[in-house]
Amino acid sequence: MGKSSSKKKKDKVILPPQLPPEVDDDDVVVSDEDVEFFRGNEGHARALATLDRKSIDSYVTRVAHHDEDEVERLYEERERRRKAVEALRPKNHDDDDFEVDRVDALPVKTLQGELVYNNAKKARFDDSSNNVESKSEDKVGNSKQTIQKGERKEKSKSKKGDGKLQNVQAQTEASNGKLQSKVLEEVKEELSAEELFEKKKAQLAEIGMSMLEDPESHIRSLNDMLNICNDKDQKVVKLSLMSLLAVFRDIIPSYRIRQLTEKELTVEVSKDVKKMRYYEYTLLRSYKAYLQKLISLEKQPNFSALAVRCMCTLLDTAPHFNFRESILASVARNLSSPDDAVRKMCCETIRSLFVDEGKHRGEATVEAVRLIADHVKLNDCQLHPDSIEVFLSLRFDDDLGKDDTEEEKGKPKKNKRRQNQEVPKQLPVSDNKKAKQELISKAREEVDAELRSVSFTLDPKERRRIQKEALSALFETYFRILKHSMSISNSRGKVINVSPDGSHPLLAPCLEGLGKFSHLIDLDFMGELVACLKKLSGYTDHHSGTVHDNTLSVSERLQCCIVAFKVWRSNLEALNVDLQDFFVQLFNLILEYRPDRDRGEVLADALKTLLWEGKQQDMIRAAAFIKRLATFALSFGSAEAMAALITLKHLLQKNSKCRNMLENDSGGGSLSCLVAKYDPEAKDPYLSGALASVLWELSLLQKHYDSSVSSMASNILSMANLNPTQNPVPISNASPLEAYRDLSMERKLSKPANKLLPLNCRKKRRGKEFVALSPAALEGSDCVAGGDELKEKLKNHFAVLRGISENERLRAELNHTLSSINLYKEYKKQKKSRKSKAVKKKVSRA
């Protein structure tokens, strides 16, 4: 206290003579402080009064005696002031710490308790952050503590009056601290979830990396990953499943682990072997747990897609490994899943399984086919078609059927050789030699067995056996579908289905598969198969007028015919069979075809398969088809017409006697075969009497609006002028199916041309807008003239308008009458044409 007051007095004495303006500032400052002090403490005021007198006297004397010393002191004081100013700035920067330190400096215990609370908060915050961050913060904390200690010493010297101010500030800080603590707690809760997620992410990554580096020594950590799968958070579960998938994909060995027998367990083994066995055991156990987890999660909607994806990937990468059956079972079950993504995933997986048999040597293929067959059986053939289309990716050796016959032929020869060899051996052989030979044979057998077990490639016999099993399961499925569709069609009777494909979703891929694998069907099943297809196609022996009870659509029945012919053609060498009934069915289905309801491609394919590609044709039957196809061409669009005409031309080329139908002579002589009249609605091609008719439709088709159809028709008509041995110049070598597709594509191209029409309408509308402008222009021009002229012009204008409106009315009436007259004329023409048609019919009847 004394020192500070003495310093102030020196300033007063020295400064007035040199710096008069500064005196005012100093006085103001001192006066304020002194006033406060005097008010607060009266006792201190008295002491100050006494001290002031002594100091004033001493300083006055010094100033008078030492002029040089005074000058030096002035410079020193100035420097001290500058230092003080510089010192204040860092204090301002350290205000936060300064405040905290003030709280610490307080002697009150309660305040100290609060300080302790603040320190605790910071510590918690440090702990919550990452390790690296925590280290850095610790360093910062240490530096802060050092600063705090220094400042405390300075504060001890300060005045007591400052303490009161500090108390007030401390209270405000305490309240702020409480609010901050709440906010921090909330932030911690939010951060904790993300931090946990990232922690587990890092943990999974670490375990995965360690597994990949050295799987044998870290095999136990798989259990840790499996435990993470049981977390509550869905994201964590998904991540863990995906990471486990990646690990298993890399760890799983290229061989199948088998259980150890009791003998093997009892035998003492080296450390390396024990280690390997422990590794395999642990791997299998965790793999099993993982699969069980996937299968359980598959039922939950949130995880089903992910679980199925994991199983598909495992099956694709490791089809040879253990627990393949359970994966296949779940994947086969999901082939008919309502979810499109899941179903496609499963289909692609199984297709790749069928195509790449090198990994599993065909065993997985048999299991997959059997599982799908069982699945079809359980669901009573009501599955999504994709589940059966998968079979089209199967591949079988073409020699599958031939090798058996060769083996059978070889067997009797071998038997004969053995008998011949055995007889002479028995006579000279002695007991010792027999024993030696037995030992030798046993040794050879053992060696062969070891070679087979070691060799990776399959024996051709095993491969054939596996393919036969797959083939039998495949055909079992197909036949079950056929019989199911037959039974349903019989039971439902005349019920009409709104959606024709709804009741038999698997029939189309089944027929397609039969067509593809027809060359592998055993001859014994051929008759049954053809009988089933015949019933499905709607053929009946009784040509009565009753409607068929079959619920299949026309397209499906045509597919039955196509499959029957493919089966027949693939066994052409063994069969000399004529599928007459299917020709009859096709003959009838042509009349039932409707473009909008049925698929034209299927009909074109049927024409191609049965008539265009067929080598054996009956003349009478060919004639019947020729006549019916010509009528068909008149009734439908250009695509169907083109397909029909190509087939018709092909039939005429092959059956030269049928060309009599191109001539305008009715009857046909002996060729008419007792049927003298043509029956267009006949149900048997042999009884339709087509040879007694004439192909008059072709003359109409020559004028068809489609140039390709007209050119084809004229080309066919030119055959009448040729010799039977000659053939017309071929316009196109395309099959009926290709022609149909080309023309159907042209239809699509012609559609955009129609879009141009509305543009023309728009142009017309724009023209109308111009007409609307003219009266405005007229009105504008009239305004310029005077009153009288205006009246005259307006009169003329309105008179003209009246005339125009009257003309419009009259023209409308005139057009109306003209249109009515034209309609009446057309009506008369129609009557005349009808009468002429009736007359023609009578003539034809006679």
Binding site: L523, M526, G527, V530, A531, K534, D541, H542, H543, A574, L575, N576, V577, D578, L579, Q580, D581, Q616, D618, M619, I620, C673, L674, V675, A676, K677, D684, Y686, L687
Partner: protein
């Protein structure tokens, strides 16, 4: 000439059904194209001198004007009754059967002559056979040019033909077009 009684009609229809199956209905109900009547009538069966004739109604009505001993025949003869009472189809019925047959067999060109001489059909000469032909079905034998040659009984089904030996009989001969020459007197 008289109409067939119930027993005779049954025997004739059984024979015809063996070859034509459901087409038998068409055979009897198709409109007649023979005879001078303006309206087409139907065909009917008549018995005359142990032979069964298939003729249109117009012909039958006009044939009644001829005395029985002087009448040689009416329409197409399709078969005859034996003294024992059995009915046999004759070669005259070939055109009718060929038009309405449900089962057909096609012969190879080089073996047609053997069949026309009255021999049965071995598998080696079989070119095509209608699918789902069963044993004991009536079969019309055709040439590759679709000309009917005769008819017979299938000894084996279409499936069994595939497994049979090359010399096994496939179709038992009953009648062939060669009989017009070999049995001229009897047929007249």
């Amino acid at each position: 000439m008289r109409a067939l009684d119930e027993k005779e009609t049954k025997m004739v229809f059984e024979k015809l059904f063996k070859f034509t199956g459901p087409n038998l209905k068409h055979l009897l109900e198709r409109p007649a194209v023979e005879g001078p009547d303006p309206q087409a009538g139907r065909y009917c069966l008549r018995l005359h001198k142990n032979r069964v004739y298939y003729a249109s109604e117009a012909l039958v009505r006009r044939a009644t004007a001829v005395a029985r001993p002087r009448l040689a025949g009416v329409g197409t003869p399709i078969g005859k009754f034996t003294h024992g009472g059995a009915f046999h189809l004759t070669v005259h019925a070939l055109d009718l059967l060929a038009a309405h047959a449900r089962r057909r067999v096609w012969l190879k060109p080089d073996t047609e002559r053997s069949f026309l001489f009255g021999n049965s059909v071995p598998k080696s000469s079989l070119a095509r056979i209608t699918e789902n032909t069963k044993a004991n079905d009536g079969v019309v034998v055709m040439s590759m040019a679709d000309v009917p040659l005769g008819f017979g009984i299938a000894a084996r089904s279409a499936q069994d033909c595939r497994k049979a030996d090359t010399n096994a009989v496939v179709v038992l001969h009953q009648s062939d077009a060669g009989e017009y020459l070999r049995r001229e007197e009897e047929l007249m």
